[in-house]
């Protein structure tokens, strides 16, 4: 493939991945905040007869999900984007 086309596609793809991942996190976080702002009673529902509320489960999940998403991004970059990058630098 023409190097110039490959370069343009690489930049596009790189930005696409960066912004998609960022958007995912931002949507998740701000939905959480909006629920707190407008429908807080939703977060107070108790799960499975225990004392874990929807809010706590959701909050802890966001932390874990953030870590997983950074891991996925790193894996994609290490195993895929870096290879294209090396090709472009040749």
């Amino acid at each position: 493939m023409n190097k110039r086309i490959l370069y343009d596609r690489f930049i596009f793809l790189n930005k696409l991945i960066s912004f998609t991942f960022s958007l995912l996190i931002l949507c998740l976080y701000f939905s959480f905040i909006l629920i707190i702002g407008f429908k807080p009673q939703l977060l107070g529902i108790l799960l499975y007869d225990g004392y874990i509320t929807v809010g706590i489960a959701l909050g802890l999940s966001i932390i874990i999900f953030s870590i997983l998403l950074t891991l996925i991004y790193t894996l994609i970059s290490n195993n895929f984007l870096d290879k294209v990058r090396d090709k472009l630098k040749e």
């Binding site: 909006l34 932390i63 991004y73």
Partner: protein
């Protein structure tokens, strides 16, 4: 042991820790050991800090994992360890809302900033903005943004340090501030980034280790069931079941969103954090350090959540830790400290106290170094000397600046004794989000950005933030004592970030002084470097 006791007695003559002597001796022993090891590192580092690469960026030799720990260390200040566990202790679920806000900035830094930062910059984030914008103007703005951010942050840390050490070790406030200040000056001026990084790595390890044990001990009492821990907490807390869902801390959506914006974009604009991405060898290591940092910070916030609820269970009706009004001795911020004693005994209290002290020391060192490089490099070399200064002079100015910043931090720390300075961290985040982040982000992402746009737009962002915070409830009402705030919102970021971006956009578009083709050409070059590293 006699030897240590002697040192302890001479250094800490009046140890009267909250609980008893044994734990304070143990705390002092661990702390002195920490100081001894870090000073040793500083001594060896000082032989290498006559080279810019080593002084500002530890020679780019820090690995991704090490840097991840160091970044996490910079972020896990005593304020977030003690503050967030204290917040959970006080209001339960609301503490978690803060933790999440502090964490989600990190994935964003990884996705948008870390690799590009490493590919483009050398020592300060102004190195990046000045690739395509006019050096002197943009360095003035970046350095101002940096200095305002770190000064606010430093004051909050110093005041926190003084009162914490006063409670933990029974040292007078002023002496505590001086000890922290002098040690930080030694680390930064002699050991530069090498010493600052290793201080941070050791402390991050100790803090994660200590917090893990604390959370483990809490969890063990409840056979590792989160539900039973929460059940017990609901039983003893005065707010009962309300601690399990959103409370009064965030009552209107605008404030909530605004706080979120400040935390996320502010994190991506904190100079002492951005600077750490220059200490690794390449973009891949920068990426890996952001991954580790996110993991450590996320794990740490889960721990503080458990620690906070543990504190509710073990401290709420334990008269050993409450004063005559039924409030926690010291303040809510002492929740983690008291818990460590209640659940782990004297030795563990000593350990956690020493770790808290080390945490403050490490964080203020990072801040001071960020400030020193803004003065020595951005202001002195590129603004005053117009880029014409040799390495030796530059380093001398940076090192002297670190001493000056250290002394100013000590004096401000003493000046603000007893004041509520918690709002300063919030203000620091707001300034970082409305000044540093927009110019950095738009430099990398927007081809039509011009020097005029970044300079005046950034200044407008900075001034609006400071003005709105002063006119808002935190300063106008709580500090100045007026009845009603002129600007109604506690967290102005939603407005200031929008104003800043809009101003930069508008001024750049209308700017006729910049040659468009040349600007786009520079942007092309920058893009290539940002993504390919060449």
């Amino acid at each position: 042991m006699n030897f240590f006791s002697l040192i302890i007695l001479t250094v800490f003559p009046s140890i009267t820790l909250a609980s008893n002597e044994e734990s304070s001796y143990f705390a002092a022993t661990i702390f002195i050991l920490f100081v001894f090891v870090t000073l040793l590192i500083t001594y060896f580092a000082s032989k290498k800090t006559d080279v810019k690469e080593n002084y500002y960026a530890a020679g780019g030799k820090i690995s991704g994992f090490q840097n991840g720990l160091a970044i996490a260390g910079d972020y896990m200040s005593a304020a977030s360890f003690l503050g967030i566990s204290g917040l959970v202790f006080y209001s339960g679920f609301d503490g978690l809302i803060y933790s999440i806000g502090f964490l989600v900035g990190w994935p964003i830094i990884l996705f948008l900033i870390s690799e590009r930062l490493k590919n483009l910059g050398k020592f300060t984030f102004a190195d990046i903005t000045s690739i395509r914008l006019e050096q002197s103007k943009i360095r003035i703005l970046s350095a101002t943004g940096t200095l305002v951010t770190i000064t606010l942050y430093l004051i909050a840390q110093m005041v926190g340090a003084g009162s914490l050490i006063q409670i933990l070790f029974g040292l007078p406030y002023e002496i505590a501030v001086w000890i922290v200040g002098v040690l930080m000056i030694i680390y930064v001026s002699f050991g530069g980034m090498i010493a600052t990084t290793w201080v941070q790595i050791i402390k991050a390890f100790l803090l994660i280790f200590g917090a893990s044990i604390l959370a483990f001990l809490v969890f063990k009492e409840f056979s590792f069931s989160l539900s039973s821990l929460l059940e017990q907490a609901v039983k003893v807390h005065e707010s009962k079941i309300e601690i399990l869902f959103p409370g009064k801390l965030i009552d209107d959506p605008i404030s909530a969103i605004s706080l979120g914006i400040a935390l996320i974009l502010g994190t991506a604009g904190l100079p002492h954090i951005l600077m750490r991405f220059f200490t690794v060898p390449d973009a891949k290591s920068a990426r890996i350090s952001a991954l580790y940092a996110t993991t450590f910070i996320g794990y740490f916030y889960i721990l503080t959540f458990v620690i906070g609820f543990g504190a509710i269970v073990f401290l709420s009706d334990n008269y050993l830790y409450l004063n005559e009004n039924g409030k926690l001795i010291g303040s809510n911020n002492m929740a983690a400290i008291h818990l460590s004693h209640s659940i782990g005994g004297d030795i563990f209290l000593g350990f956690i106290s020493a770790v808290a002290f080390a945490t403050i020391l490490a964080v203020v060192s990072g801040l001071t170094l960020a400030g020193a490089s803004a003065i020595g490099r951005d202001l002195f070399v590129y603004v005053i000397k117009k880029g014409d200064a040799d390495e030796k002079t530059e380093l001398k100015v940076s090192k002297v600046s670190s001493v000056v910043i250290g002394v100013i931090a000590i004096l401000l720390g003493i000046f603000f004794e007893g004041q509520n300075v918690a709002f300063m961290v919030g203000l620091a985040f707001a300034v970082a989000a409305s000044t540093n982040f927009p110019i950095l982000f738009l430099t990398i992402m927007w081809k039509n950005l011009t020097t005029m746009g970044a300079y005046y737009g950034g200044m407008i962002g900075l001034l609006t933030t400071i003005t709105l915070v002063i006119l808002g409830p935190t300063i106008w009402v709580e500090v100045f004592g007026f009845k009603e705030a002129i600007f109604p919102y506690k967290y102005p970021a939603i407005f200031t970030v929008s104003i800043s971006f809009f101003a930069i956009f508008l001024i750049s578009i209308m700017d006729k002084t910049t040659n468009k083709t040349e600007n786009h050409k520079k942007f092309e070059k920058l893009t290539r470097k940002a993504y390919l590293g060449e």
